[in-house]
């Protein structure tokens, strides 16, 4: 009758950021190119991990959003992806500031918006998960109902 598996509306900024992150990581790996700021400010193993994390986070986050199984599992995967996304974009922002200084103000501040948004979303997901585990009259519940009607 009605699709009870409806969930929250997709978050456009999050989804685009995740898609862009995975594309960016795949391109970096395929072209074997690294931004100079990353090369200069991270040790070699961290650089490799950073690149791989870009791909994993992007694809993993999309997987979590599109997760066909339990809502909480999908939210958990999304939470982990968003946390790591915030970390690696934050690392890049720090690297940009450290290497480019004042010249990188625009790039660094715009990129720093990604970790800010990511951690914000992570906090949202954590609240939702806690609601799923405990309360009934919480935002997730309302969202499930709201998504259905």
């Amino acid at each position: 009758m009605v699709n009870l598996r409806a969930r929250a509306k997709p978050q456009p900024f999050e989804v685009t950021a995740l898609v862009a992150t995975s594309i960016c990581g795949i391109l970096l790996l395929a072209l074997d190119a690294r931004p100079p700021s990353v090369q200069m400010s991270m040790p070699e193993p961290v650089q490799v991990g950073w690149e791989v994390a870009l791909v994993i986070v992007g694809l993993g986050g999309l997987l979590g959003i599109l997760w066909p199984g339990q809502l909480s599992t999908g939210l958990g995967i999304e939470l982990a992806s968003v946390l790591v996304l915030g970390t690696i974009t934050g690392m890049y922002a720090v690297a940009l500031v450290a290497v480019a200084g004042q010249q990188g103000v625009v790039a660094a501040s715009l990129i720093a918006a990604v970790p800010a948004g990511s951690f914000w979303r992570a906090a949202q997901i954590m609240i939702d998960l806690r609601c799923l585990a405990k309360g009934h009259q919480c935002s997730t519940h309302r969202r499930v109902v709201g998504g259905v009607t």
Binding site: I88, L132, K134
Partner: protein
């Protein structure tokens, strides 16, 4: 610039970024591990939530259905009653029209006399009592 990454950033930046990376990675893994470990807890409650949501949707529909069902039941019984009444009336109309035909025939008969007509009427007056 890519070919010559000679000028390295200060050492503390490298340490800071490495720490950040390790911290973020472990946090992400911990998040996944926590959710996976507590899956059972989420399972029951997620089911509860969905059931509640479903209930809030289904309850008014169910009430409406029982309402309509009882309405349909009463309508059906009323229909049976009416059909019975119609049958009785039909039977009565048929009997009456037969009587009328007989009387008319008696009246229009070429050799009609008042006595004959009276006997016909007297005969048919008994008929409705038979039924």
């Amino acid at each position: 610039m890519i070919s010559a990454p000679a000028p390295e950033a200060p050492h503390w930046v490298q340490v800071l970024l490495s720490l950040l990376g390790v911290l973020g990675g472990t946090t992400g893994l911990a998040a996944i591990a926590t959710v996976v470990a507590q899956r059972g807890k989420f399972k029951a409650d997620a089911a509860d939530t969905l059931t509640e949501a479903a209930l809030t949707l289904v309850q008014p529909l169910q009430m409406r259905i029982t309402e309509l069902e009882s309405e349909a039941l009463s309508a059906r019984s009323e229909l049976g009653l009416l059909r019975e009444q119609v049958n009785q009336l039909q039977f009565l109309v048929r009997a009456l029209s037969r009587t009328l035909d007989r009387w008319r025939a008696a009246v229009h008969a070429p050799d009609a006399t008042l006595r004959k007509i009276r006997t016909v009427v007297a005969e048919s007056e008994r008929l409705p009592e038979n039924h």
